[in-house]
């Protein structure tokens, strides 16, 4: 436990430093390519892309943990999936919000339904909200199993959301179509690293909470048996 606490604070400090560094670099060092729009809101991309990456990553973890749970039936994997799903929903919310802000600044509206990327990402968000709803709706032994099944089904929407701007009609920008200076790539990479650490730290905290809840559950059961 002691080591766990120290590792958590180490993670949080790393996270903070990485975030500050990202803020500094993306604001003052980023070289903005000649873009067909007012470039100032371009800074948002250094956050938006890493956030979206983290969202996909956490749902990938939910998927992997769900498969692992069905294979091994170890409660640990169920707890991993549950923790990662919640962090993922938070990240997707942030991705939707940051994308929405950019859209308002550049295109004049916060949201449009006629856009595949926005629509699929919203559905992705909904799928994992539904996952959490399923988790609260089912009690007992069946919960982990059913959640694992839905955790696998809902992963369908991750590639759908990721590739939607390439496959379907979308206003979503495809960065590969613009001249992208090297330094931006480095900053973006740092952003991805920073937000991955952010994810790991949040996941760790949430996972510890899940362990404690499981402990309380077993203590409760033991008490009920004795009385």
């Amino acid at each position: 436990m002691k080591w766990g606490k120290r590792r958590d604070s180490a993670l949080l400090v790393t996270m903070l430093v990485a975030m500050l560094l990202l803020a500094y670099l993306s604001t003052f060092v980023a070289v903005l390519p000649p873009l067909p729009w007012d470039a100032i809101s371009f800074h948002l991309f250094f956050y938006h892309i890493p956030i979206a990456w983290t969202a996909y990553l956490s749902f990938g973890v939910v998927f992997a943990a769900s498969v692992q749970y069905l294979r091994t039936r170890a409660q640990k994997w169920d707890m991993v999936a549950a923790s990662s799903a919640e962090v993922g929903v938070l990240m997707t919310t942030l991705a939707l919000l940051s994308g929405s802000l950019w859209s308002k600044a550049q295109l004049g509206y916060y949201w449009t339904w006629e856009d595949a990327k926005l629509f699929t990402t919203f559905i992705l968000w909904m799928a994992y909200v539904a996952y959490i709803a399923l988790r609260t709706g089912v009690r007992g032994d069946a919960r982990a199993r059913l959640c694992a099944v839905f955790g696998i089904i809902s992963f369908v929407f991750v590639p759908l959301s990721f590739f939607s701007s390439r496959w379907l009609v979308s206003v979503h920008t495809n960065l590969t179509s613009y001249p992208f200076p090297m330094i931006n790539g480095v900053i973006l990479l740092l952003g991805v690293v920073a937000f991955t650490i952010f994810y790991v730290a949040l996941f760790r905290l949430r996972y510890d909470l899940e362990t404690q809840m499981a402990e309380i559950e077993t203590v409760k059961e033991a008490m009920e048996e004795t009385t």
Binding site: L70, F119, T120, I123, M126, A127, A130, A133, L134, T136, G137, V138, R139, A142, R145, L146, A148, V149, F150, I152, I153, S154, V156, F157, L160
Partner: protein, 229 residues
């Protein structure tokens, strides 16, 4: 496996013939929805000849009816088995669980498609609308769309059936899983057919067909886990 699936389907079908609970509630619901639309969009009754207006208005109205009537059809698929305690008997049957899925899929598709066809007819009667003569195309897209809907709907229904909050959970899970993958492409395909744009229709039909394949594969691997007890 097919004969076992047919046995499950035939059991559900006979049960329905005796009680007529599912089908009657679905049909009544579909009439109610169409009546509500008739009053809400009464202006459309006058402008039904306008091809652009009808192509954008008719498919969503139809699919709202299909979706929610279909949900009424999917809700009792396993909930009823759980409530009457017959699920264990079904699980004890010496067969692959996927056969149970297939059987349930067949009856669900049959009922949902039947009610959807009825909804199409109700709509035509209430709005005095002739679907620009594209009856067969509309029915075909409806068959494909409801097949996709039922294929994932049976698994989702099984997922939700054990939950205490299943009445809320089933709509939430179903809307999430089918909105973008089934409902939207089906609506697009229907409206393209009404506009005589077969190329767009084919693209959307391909999406739906691909999703049927995906949901069959998912169900093949996961259905066993859902029902395991």
């Amino acid at each position: 496996m097919i004969s076992e699936a047919l046995a499950v389907a035939w059991k559900d079908f006979r049960l329905e013939l005796r009680t007529r609970e599912r089908l009657s509630s679905m049909i009544i619901f579909s009439i109610m929805v169409m009546l509500s639309f008739r009053f809400a969009f009464s202006f459309f009754g006058v402008h039904a000849e306008d091809p652009v207006l009808s192509a954008s208005l008719v498919p969503p109205m139809l699919w709202i009816a299909f979706f929610f009537a279909g949900m009424l059809g999917l809700a009792p698929v396993f909930a009823k088995e759980t409530d009457t305690g017959t699920l264990n008997g079904l699980l004890l049957a010496p067969t692959d669980r996927f056969a149970i899925y297939l059987g349930k899929f067949m009856t669900s598709l049959f009922f949902i498609f039947l009610v959807s066809l009825a909804s199409i007819v109700f709509f035509a009667i209430f709005f005095n609308y002739d679907y620009a003569g594209q009856w067969i195309g509309i029915a075909g897209v409806t068959l494909l769309g409801t097949a996709a809907y039922a294929s994932i709907g049976v698994t989702v229904s099984a997922l939700a059936s054990t939950a205490k909050t299943r009445d809320v959970l089933l709509p939430l899970l179903l809307i999430t899983v089918t909105l973008f993958t089934v409902v939207v492409p089906s609506i697009n395909a229907t409206s393209s057919i009404l506009m005589n744009d077969y190329e767009t229709a084919l693209t959307n039909i391909r999406y739906v067909a691909a999703f049927i394949l995906i949901s069959f594969v998912l169900s093949y691997f996961l259905f066993d886990e859902v029902l395991e007890d």
